[in-house]
Symmetry: C2
Subunit: 141 residues, 2 copies
């Protein structure tokens, strides 16, 4: 009985996240970006020159994933890599001008996606929803 409700929640979350990913992926193609790369850039807008290890921790993904994302972003001219002078193992990642210019357009896309997702949901409900999502987040840790 309650299992059905809970299972709907799991499946629903699954459908929402895949649909969001699909939608958003398409939308990002207009900026010549792939899904996930916007999150990496977002971290750099907060402050660049950080290491791949730090990016990996922030994005909660494994180091090889960062290597590949960084390679793709570098090839497309959004970032550049510089070896650390103190520690030759470390690569520090910086934004190019082209990478800096994406900040505004991506924020616009984020707001569009938010509004599409939440359009029928009232402000009080949004607050409640956020609380429940945060709880689920910590349940997963």
């Amino acid at each position: 009985m309650n299992d059905t409700v809970d299972c709907d929640i799991r499946q629903s979350l699954d459908r929402i996240s895949s649909q969001m990913r699909r939608d958003y992926s398409e939308s990002l193609r207009e900026l010549n970006l792939y899904v996930g790369q916007d999150n990496l850039l977002y971290r750099l807008w907060l402050g660049d020159g950080i290491t791949q290890m730090q990016i990996s921790e922030h994005l909660k993904c494994e180091p090889p994933t960062v290597t590949n994302m960084v390679k793709s972003l570098e090839q497309n001219g959004f970032i550049y890599r510089k070896r650390d002078e103190q520690d030759a193992r470390v690569m520090r990642i910086f934004l190019t001008d082209k990478g800096k210019e994406l900040e505004q357009p991506i924020e616009v896309k984020w707001k569009q996606q938010q509004e599409k997702l939440l359009k029928s949901i009232l402000p009080e409900e949004r607050l409640l929803l956020r609380r429940l999502l945060k709880e689920m987040e910590s349940n997963l840790c």
Copy 2:
């Protein structure tokens, strides 16, 4: 102001879905399955002998994705493919015994994942949450 709340919701959903995927992926490895394959099998438990096109529509993914998933599931002996007798373009997909046997173990995994995700959330809240998620789902269509 409200943008911050909404943005948290988008990001929160994003973090939950990646964490769920990561967790779940690991858990499915015990059954020798990859993430997403359980949804394909679930559709077959409802009734097999359907075409790849129907699977593609049900899973809301593109035909090449189905080709690859089906190939992998066939190689691991969970399903088999049979060309349609009326229409030689069509492939019909059937469960093997090994595939049928996964139904119970996967339901167990689903319930485990649900419970992990929702453990701190009360029944009334779950009902509300489900309603809000369903709304978001239709907002995305």
